[in-house]
């Protein structure tokens, strides 16, 4: 079946150009030979209803698809931006918390250093009426069981949660510096996950 011809004429004086509008059923296959246009009384077993889709509807469909796509992208972008902003806010909050913790650590580190200083210890010892032993004092051996009982009673036995407290000042300082310096955190506490 051959579709009807549409003819268009150039505005100028040139030759008329024709364009064939074809459908999928516009040709039949005969034997093994090449496809040839259906001619004469050769008819298809069932007539196919063909129609030309108006270009306007196709454009409208495309426009709708495009609008949906754009809207989806915009929505996605908005969601992404919102999430980024939320993450940034969270990062800012965490960074502020880290800064505050760092400052608090510095203040406490200073206090501890001052309290542990020999000058302070000597002054406190004198204030409490303590005097140097004079080098002739005797050491008294402490029974291990008695010591264990004393530790248990005072609750001063170290626990995993107290591990950081048990670290020496330099180790604590290095641990904080590792975090601050963006280095891999390697806990100096054996067997303790960072």
């Amino acid at each position: 079946v051959t579709a009807p011809l549409r003819t268009s004429t150039n505005a100028g004086a040139g030759p008329a150009r024709t364009r064939a509008v074809t459908t999928r059923a516009h040709a039949v296959r005969t034997g093994d030979g090449p496809v040839s246009p259906a001619v004469g009384n050769v008819r298809p077993a069932r007539a196919v209803q063909l129609r030309i889709v108006p270009r306007r509807r196709r454009a409208a469909g495309f426009a709708v698809f495009l609008s949906v796509l754009v809207a989806a992208v915009m929505l996605g972008t908005a969601v992404l931006h919102t999430q980024l902003a939320e993450r940034q806010l969270e990062i800012d909050r965490v960074e502020r918390a880290v800064d505050e913790a760092q400052q608090r650590f510095d203040v406490l580190r200073r206090q501890r250093a001052e309290l542990r200083a020999p000058t302070h210890l000597a002054a406190e010892a004198s204030r409490l009426g303590m005097v140097p032993s004079g080098g002739d004092g005797d050491f008294v051996a402490v029974d291990a069981w008695t010591m264990a009982q004393a530790i248990a009673a005072s609750g001063s036995a170290p626990t995993p949660d107290d591990a950081l407290r048990a670290l020496e000042p330099l180790d604590q300082y290095r641990l904080v510096k590792q975090v601050d310096g963006a280095g891999a955190v390697e806990s100096p506490i054996a067997g303790n996950d960072p």
């Binding site: 203040v107 001052e114 020999p118 000058t119 080098g135 000042p169 330099l170 510096k177 601050d180």
Partner: protein, 588 residues
């Protein structure tokens, strides 16, 4: 034909035939757009950076962020010097609208004096500068109070403050920084580059008029904190040394004192203390200068150990060889004498050292010769800066043998006619304690990098000066010096001590060893080590200008007792155990 063409051209642009006009307009628009695009391209590429920077300069301000200065730790990780957060208050007088009110507010919060408030008000009113410090490195809490007031033209910025948490303990070694955190003395100066770190940059947006827009601050370049230093110093031993020296200087009425505690095997300095009596107040306190390495004095009889060790090592003398020792003898037109009068005796090297005989040790030096003696002095580290390379460190004075004049040629044998620093002298005697191997003194054990990693410093350089056999022989002589010689005051319980006293003279500005009142001026010392069977710690104590009129002027009275007083603390802190077999003074 021409007329038709003209008519045709006119017809083409005539009303009612817009095609060509549209094309012309289109072309013009395209050309214009291309020009605009080209200009935009040029602005964004070749001139982009310049213009962006120029724009940013108009509405942003950049401030340097100070990098946190590294901490100085002792060998046990205790802080000796550290930087703590603080605030600095500055003003921009040009922005301040009410100088009187602003100055009054700052005065009330900062506790300024009336004079300072008036000065501030004057600066604010003058408006001839855009920056002025009000108070630097104040407590953070006060800084926050001022910041909360939101005063126009008043800024509060973070600026660390350097502190010594242990007070002035170790100040002589640590040195100090200036208000800007730059090292000006001591370790702070020597390792300033390492401790300083790299500053960062912070940008903030400003509104017209120069006021900062809150919340626009951003770190353009993060500061990198300085490395930390881990010294070989033990803070407890340092404190104990300083206190012992202060007590002794007060007891004697001396001018000052130095103390050095050194690990015999590694050369690590466990304590290095200098105390001085203030010329203004008369109070004795830890000195700001490290006189143990900066000052060089004649060591006196401690140097006899070097002379004896060198002669034995060279085979110039033997332990059995004896020398005729009168109490005084003429050398190079000078009548030189021992400290105490005694009959002429025949003494071997041990006895000469135990009795600290000047005459005897000069006889020994004659056996080895001046040149060889000089070579040994240099090998013991005398006459050159130590490996510490401390700021202002003295090389001491060891003249070439050919430059020695008169009786100097022989008096160098007993420590007169050359000068050494305390660290040189301690290192020289430590060579004997370390079985004849000189080990360079060391003050920095390790550094801590930006990510907390510890980097150990290289071990101290060593070189053999005398054989182990000779060193052990001299050690036994030095044990006898403590057991029955001039250093009995250095004995301690449970440990055998080896050492040598020294009483040197201090040259005066008048070119003599006497001050303007005609009195000798002394520099007394004791250098010893323990346990003598396996030396682990070498300790030098020197007292500067003990009173000439008392027995306290001698090393045996001025310095040796400090050694004995300090040793138990060192033994405790270093957990030194008495050797399984202790010779003691009886079993020597």
């Amino acid at each position: 034909v021409a007329a038709r063409r003209s008519t045709s051209r006119a017809a083409r642009f005539a009303a009612g035939s817009p095609r060509r006009r549209l094309i012309a307009v289109l072309v013009a628009l395209v050309v214009f757009l291309v020009a605009v695009l080209a200009r935009v391209g040029a602005l964004q590429t070749s001139q982009g950076e310049t213009l962006r920077a120029a724009g940013a300069r108009q509405w942003t301000r950049t401030r340097e962020i100070q990098a946190t200065r590294g901490t100085i730790f002792d060998r046990n990780g205790e802080e000796l010097a550290m930087s703590v957060p603080a605030s600095t208050v500055t003003i921009n007088p040009k922005l301040i609208e009410d100088p009187a009110a602003t100055a009054a507010t700052l005065q009330s919060v900062l506790g300024l004096t009336d004079e300072r408030r008036a000065e501030l008000e004057q600066v604010m009113a003058a408006k001839d500068r855009g920056f002025y410090y009000v108070a630097r490195q104040i407590d953070d809490a006060i800084g926050e109070q001022i910041d909360a007031l939101d005063l126009v033209g008043v800024d509060v910025v973070a600026e660390d403050r350097r502190i010594l948490p242990g007070g002035i303990t170790g100040r002589s070694v640590m040195g100090q920084t200036d208000i800007d955190g730059v090292g000006t003395a001591g370790i702070e100066l020597q390792y300033d580059d390492l401790l300083t770190g790299t500053g960062g940059e912070e940008t903030r947006e400003v509104a017209p008029g120069g006021r900062s827009i809150p919340g626009t601050e951003s770190v353009a370049r993060a500061p990198v904190p300085g490395d930390d230093l881990i010294l070989t110093i033990d803070r407890s031993i340092q404190f104990a040394t300083e206190q012992a020296l202060i007590d002794q200087v007060n007891a004697l009425g001396a001018r000052g004192a130095n103390g050095i505690v050194m690990d015999t095997k590694t050369g690590e300095i466990l304590a290095m203390a200098s105390v001085r009596r203030s010329s203004d107040t008369g109070v004795v306190e830890v000195a700001s200068g490290n006189y143990a390495v900066v000052d060089a004095d004649e060591p006196g009889s401690v140097a006899k150990v070097v002379t004896v060790a060198a002669s034995l090592n060279e085979g110039a003398i033997t332990p059995e060889m004896t020398f005729e020792v009168p109490w005084r003898k003429k050398w190079y037109d000078d009548l030189l004498a021992d400290a105490e009068q005694h009959p002429t005796e025949w003494w071997n090297a041990e006895e000469i050292l135990v009795r600290s005989s000047n005459i005897g040790v000069m006889e020994i030096q004659q056996m080895i010769g001046r040149e060889k003696h000089w070579e040994y002095m240099r090998a013991f580290g005398l006459g050159e800066k130590s490996a510490l390379d401390f700021p202002g460190e003295s090389t001491g004075i060891v003249k070439d043998p050919d430059d020695l004049w008169g009786s100097e040629r022989v008096t160098v044998a007993y420590g007169q006619g050359f000068a050494s620093t305390s660290i040189q002298l301690a290192s020289a005697i430590n060579t004997i304690a370390n079985d004849g191997t000189y080990v360079a003194p060391k003050l920095v054990a390790a550094t801590v990098g930006p990510a907390g990693e510890i980097t150990q410093t290289a071990p101290s350089a060593t070189h053999e000066v005398i054989s182990a056999e000779t060193a052990q022989l001299v050690q036994s002589y030095m044990v006898q010096v403590v057991c029955r010689g001039t250093a009995e005051n250095a004995q301690i319980d449970q440990f055998t001590v080896a050492g040598k006293t020294g009483t040197g003279y201090k040259p005066q500005a008048n070119g003599t060893y006497f001050d303007d009142q005609g009195r000798r001026v002394y520099f007394s010392s004791f250098v010893g080590f323990f346990p003598a069977e396996d030396p682990q710690v070498t300790l030098l104590i020197s007292v500067d200008e003990p009173p000439a009129e008392t027995n306290g002027r001698f090393g045996s009275q001025a310095a040796a007792p400090v050694f004995a007083k300090l040793a138990p603390t060192i033994i405790h802190e270093q957990n030194i155990q008495p050797p399984a077999i202790t010779h003691g003074c009886d079993g020597g």
